[in-house]
């Protein structure tokens, strides 16, 4: 048999480690990642085998036909895993909120419409019981702000929590945290998987960005809610929404969290949300970072203030996963969960793809109340979207690390769901390898 000519893999991502003479190669299909010299990087990119054959053994040089077969098998594995995956179901009982955040993307959403009655809640759970039968599901309370003050709001949340508990469906909550301590006993009637709370900085910074509607500090009440939640043994996912106005305040927030003992609690984790324009801009766009700009700024910040890393270790695409686990994540053929492993429902009886679209007029994909309807063509478009379906992604070497990005962002930009929302994967890896590569010993 003739030996096939080896070529550079179409999934190699090669780049320099920021601030170092070293290079990296990662290959999300072969699952290998290596640190290289500049010469080795050039050889891989030119398709020249090394004498020991390790470029080929690691899947950086391939027989294209063999790689194509592997790509197809990996795709089938991916779809199979996703089909068995848990489904996250969001429910927005209203779009009202007790905070008046400077950058809220829901600012233009209608906040009235009345509270959902028991018949709406029953219809919602009946729909989920029927349509998601056989799938593992969990319910995430969303909004607006789901944990509003007042007995009538609490009554609705009680109705949702009790119905979830009766089905042994775990719950999670995305909340601003202001009323969290008050709601905690009620939430604990169900299995609470996680509560996401947002703090945008130390007290003064947070209160400026996330005040009560009409003004007033929220910081202390939120901190009390986080303490109470961690005290009850419930995981907290603390989120900070970041832009140019508060990035330099992250070290102070990190110090606060460290001194409070949060970062030593295994139930405490953090995420940074980039403030960005989802549907329209509510913040001044000059304060917003692009994705890469935010990671560049974090990289620089962590060099100056290493305590930030005790609070939050940035992902830099797949870098954090790679160095924490010593292996690559599985190939990501699709990064968007909308209408696949995620659905969102609201109090008006409408069904949406996900949290990006929930409540956005005209973007519903069906209704569960008063009658059940489905826009099957639209749902099929969401479900078909992956890096094989988006033309630009089909030949992109980053596709199995990027997954095609966010469908909602892509549609807002181009009018079509089947468009790319590109992630700067190679650039993020340049930063991430520099941030997490163990420093050489003597």
């Amino acid at each position: 048999m003739e030996t096939p000519l080896l070529q550079p893999s179409r999934h190699n991502i090669v780049g320099p480690v920021r601030g170092s003479a070293s290079w990296f190669v990662v290959n999300p299909l072969s699952g290998c990642a290596d640190v290289l010299t500049a010469d080795e990087a050039a050889e891989i990119q030119a398709g020249r085998p090394d004498p020991g054959g390790s470029f080929a053994a690691r899947g950086y040089l391939v027989d294209p036909a063999e790689e194509e077969g592997r790509y197809r098998r990996a795709y089938l594995d991916f779809v199979d895993r996703r089909d068995r995956d848990e489904v996250q179901i969001f429910f927005a009982p209203w779009y009202a909120c007790n905070l008046g955040c400077s950058y809220c993307y829901q600012g233009a959403y209608p906040s009235s419409g009345g509270l959902p009655g028991p018949q709406v809640l029953d219809a919602f759970f009946e729909y989920v019981d029927r349509e998601m039968a056989g799938r593992r599901t969990y319910l995430t309370l969303f909004g607006g702000e789901p944990l509003l003050p007042g007995a009538s709001a609490m009554g609705v949340i009680e109705g949702l929590v009790d119905r979830a508990a009766a089905r042994r469906m775990p719950i999670a909550v995305v909340t601003n945290g202001h009323e969290l301590a008050r709601y905690l006993p009620l939430l604990q009637r169900a299995d609470v998987r996680e509560i996401q709370v947002t703090l945008d900085g130390p007290r003064e910074v947070h209160d400026r960005r996330r005040p009560l509607k009409g003004g007033g500090s929220t910081f202390d009440a939120i901190v009390a809610g986080v303490d109470a939640t961690l005290g009850a043994g419930i995981p907290v996912n603390l989120r900070a929404v970041v832009d140019r106005d508060n990035l330099e305040d992250l070290p102070a927030l990190a110090t606060f969290a460290i001194q409070r003992g949060w970062t030593r609690n295994p139930n405490f984790k953090t995420q940074l949300g980039r403030n960005y324009e989802l549907h329209e801009c509510h913040a001044g766009s000059q304060v917003l970072y692009s994705r890469l700009e935010m990671y560049e700024a974090l990289f620089d910040l962590a060099r100056r203030h290493p305590e930030v890393l005790e609070f939050h270790r940035p992902a830099y695409s797949i870098s954090k996963f790679l160095f924490d686990n010593g292996r690559m994540p599985l190939p990501l053929f699709d990064s968007c969960s909308g209408c696949k492993t995620e659905w969102a429902f609201d109090h008006t009886g409408r069904i949406y793809s996900c949290t990006a679209t929930v409540g956005k007029v005209g973007e519903e994909v069906g209704t569960f109340w008063p009658t059940v309807t489905r826009k099957d063509d639209e749902i099929a478009q969401w479900q078909d979207r992956d890096v094989l379906a988006i033309e630009a992604c089909r030949t992109c070497s980053s596709r199995l690390a990027c997954g095609g990005g966010c469908a909602s962002v892509a549609r807002n930009r181009t009018g079509s769901l089947l468009a790319p929302d590109c992630r700067p994967i190679r650039e993020l890896l340049e930063l991430g390898t520099a941030a997490y590569l163990p420093v050489e010993g003597p």
Partner: protein, 50 residues
């Protein structure tokens, strides 16, 4: 070349699927490729945006 991934480096014949790769495709790993996809895998969030 220094490995970041701990997969063993094995020499293979050109044209054959590398053993490390076969190992990966047959094993359905328990956790998702979560490093950068919708961060909802780690709980509720709008994390797919970052």
């Amino acid at each position: 070349m220094k490995p970041i991934t701990r997969n063993r480096t094995t020499t293979i014949e050109p044209g054959k699927t590398p053993p490390v790769v076969q190992e990966r495709t047959v094993q359905a790993a328990p956790e998702k490729a979560q490093a950068q996809c919708c961060a909802k895998v780690s709980g509720p969030s709008m994390g797919c945006h970052d």
